[in-house]
């Protein structure tokens, strides 16, 4: 940590980790409801639990991005943050909005539009929070050094805010509703969030491998060119069956099939940098998460996305557990791992501890990754069976669900393992290691 104001990132990291645990907890509850249908049925119906599971995910990832930006931007811009006070106020406002939304959901207050269930006043509050954030980080960059990393990060963050505005537009025509809904959902995760991902990974590569900034920047430009080239028209893969013209099946299939390319480029990028970089940073866990991020994002977003992105295949797999498998591995690989990589790198610096509890953190990495991977395979097989029985053989929906019971039990088991891993990660980041451990790790940087 070079600038005092970077410390505001700690608020966001802490808030994000808290919501992370909540998100996984609700995931485990949902996994239980699927196999024991009356579990909590009066208190917490499945649709409400699902809202909290998905909303908590999105909010904590965004909170993590905000934290990443508050840590990264002063260091890159070589200047203190424009207003640390505004950043702290923004955090509490955001946390309040998120909490209010969750409490509202528990009392059945929501707008019912998938992932965008927040009542209008909370959406407006989110816009205010986003404006406070963008003002703060943009002013910081404007008064400081401008690098490729800050430029791409700002482009991504502004894009997040701009595309969120489409959540306020809810036309009564169901086709238009879905069309613009994807402008938020798809153009976030397969568009502007990827810019945030690429720039934060680029920052971590500079810090962790010691490779020249010039080399990292070139990779960054190539990756974001490929992302925007494939991702924007790739939106078409959501327009196959919602009532939009049939030519979207061609546009969506071709462009979205290429969305795997920028993710593959990120794998090559991170491994090349580690291979080329002479410096061996003491924070091994942060490097593990960074490499894990590009690798799992490639499989989760790239490969599992490609599995069902071509229109003729999607015709059969649409809305089956194949989608759930892809969603879980993609979010974990691309955005959960990105955030944890940054937290693992930044928190020891912010808390003025040497890289601590590295072993515990790395156990967290392997256990969580194993849990999510097993879950992905269970859901993928469930999806293949489901697609065949339901779409090819023409069996009834509920009859097919009965056939998937074993896979759903395996998913629940994997979910419990994931929860254990997440608790380990949070513990290792939040709780200082013992003196003996710290001493042993502190000796490493001398190498």
């Amino acid at each position: 940590m070079k600038y005092q104001s970077q410390r505001v990132a700690l608020y966001y990291f802490a808030g994000a980790l808290g919501l992370f645990v909540a998100q996984i907890l609700f995931g485990v509850i949902m996994g239980t409801i699927v196999v024991v249908p009356n579990f909590l049925s009066e208190l917490l119906p499945f649709n409400i639990a699902r809202m909290i599971h998905t909303n908590a995910l999105i909010v904590w990832l965004l909170m993590g991005f905000f934290g990443c930006a508050y840590y990264l931007i002063p260091e890159e811009s070589e200047t203190e943050l424009y207003s640390p006070k505004l950043a702290i106020l923004q955090f509490w406002l955001f946390l309040f909005g998120a909490a209010a939304a969750v409490v509202g959901y528990l009392f059945r207050i929501h707008e019912g539009r998938e992932f965008l269930e927040q009542p209008l006043w909370i959406k407006l509050a989110i816009v205010v929070v986003a404006l406070m954030f963008l003002f703060n980080v943009s002013m910081t960059v404007l008064k400081g050094r401008k690098t490729a990393i800050t430029n791409v990060l700002l482009l991504g963050l502004w894009g997040i805010a701009v595309f969120f505005l489409f959540s306020l537009y809810n036309p009564s025509n169901l086709i238009l509703d879905k069309m613009f809904w994807w402008w938020v959902v798809h153009l976030w995760v397969e568009g502007v969030w990827e810019l945030v991902m690429a720039s934060v990974l680029a920052f971590l590569m500079i810090k962790l491998t010691g490779v020249d900034r010039e080399v990292v920047e070139k990779w960054l430009y190539i990756i974001i060119s490929l992302t925007l080239f494939t991702g924007i028209l790739g939106t078409g893969h959501h327009y196959y069956w919602i009532g939009t013209p049939a030519y979207w099946q061609w546009i969506g299939s071709i462009f979205s099939a290429l969305e795997v390319v920028p993710f593959f480029a990120m794998v090559i990028f991170t491994f090349m940098m580690v291979w080329k970089g002479g410096r061996s940073h003491a924070n091994k866990a942060a490097l593990l998460w960074s490499l894990g991020c590009s690798t799992f994002a490639f499989f989760g977003a790239g490969v599992w996305g490609f599995l069902h992105t071509l229109a003729p295949i999607n015709y059969v797999t649409h809305g089956t557990q194949v989608t759930a498998a892809h969603g879980h591995l993609a979010f974990y690989g691309a955005y959960v791992m990105l955030n944890i990589a940054m937290f693992t790198y930044a928190m020891p610096n912010l808390l003025k501890r040497e890289p601590y509890n590295q072993v515990l953190n790395m156990w967290g990495f392997w256990i969580t990754s194993s849990g999510v991977t097993f879950m992905t395979f269970a859901l993928t097989f469930a999806g293949v069976v489901q697609a065949h029985l339901q779409r090819v053989m023409g069996m009834g929906f509920m009859d097919v669900q009965d056939q998937l019971g074993l896979f759903y039990w395996m998913r629940l088991g994997a979910g419990v393992v994931t929860l254990l891993g997440v608790i380990l990660i949070v513990w290792s980041l939040a709780v200082p290691g013992s003196a003996r451990q710290a001493g042993r790790v502190a000796a490493q940087p001398a190498e």
């Binding site: 070139k218 080239f229 030519y247 061609w250 299939s253 290429l258």
Partner: protein, 189 residues
């Protein structure tokens, strides 16, 4: 070509190509997308031979041929603009760029007349798979001609050698795609 690779460096294989390396990332991406469309078109033709034969019979092969000549000549003009630029003759470079641009506008004019003719026969993008692909492929290509015209205009505004090479590389790619698209869609029966 050694002088411009020295201006960049660190781009690996892209260093050996003229113009801005990121243009080549775009060009390669474009070639992959149009390549995918060509494969999609060819596979669809094998699946629906009668539909594709009937659709192709309705295309204006002469208009396609005229457009091929317009675009190739335009490519020559862009290449001459680059060599003018390399010789330091900005005036001549701009003149060739204007020529390339005018021929590009001519291409778009012929394309528009072709589309209008189809529309008057009641043929549109939803008519059948052949015409869906016809409009998507020629439409995407025409969109790149328009983008190319914008790029040529930018080069004429700031005619450095690197800019000229970058713009000409894009313009030649638009040529190349058409030279493949025309036989695949219009000619091969």
């Amino acid at each position: 070509m050694t002088d411009h690779s020295e201006a960049h460096g660190g781009w690996g294989a892209l260093d050996h190509l003229p113009g801005n390396p990121l243009m080549w990332v775009l060009i390669l991406s474009e070639l992959v997308v149009f390549g995918a469309f060509f494969v999609a078109f060819s596979v669809s033709r094998v699946l629906h031979p009668a539909m594709f034969l009937a659709g192709q019979a309705k295309l204006d092969r002469l208009a396609g041929g005229v457009n091929t000549m317009l675009l190739l000549t335009s490519g020559l003009a862009a290449a001459l603009a680059v060599s003018a630029c390399a010789a330091g003759d900005t005036r001549r470079c701009r003149r060739w760029l204007a020529g390339a641009g005018l021929l590009g506008v001519g291409f778009l004019g012929v394309k528009l007349a072709e589309y209008a003719g189809k529309a008057s026969q009641g043929i549109g993008i939803d008519t059948d798979t052949f015409f869906t692909l016809f409009y998507l492929m020629t439409g995407f290509h025409a969109a790149h001609v328009i983008l190319g015209l914008v790029i040529l205009a930018v080069v004429a505004w700031k005619p450095s050698l690197e800019n000229a090479e970058t713009g000409a590389a894009f313009w030649h790619m638009v040529d190349l795609i058409w030279v493949l698209l025309y036989p695949i869609v219009y000619l091969i029966r």
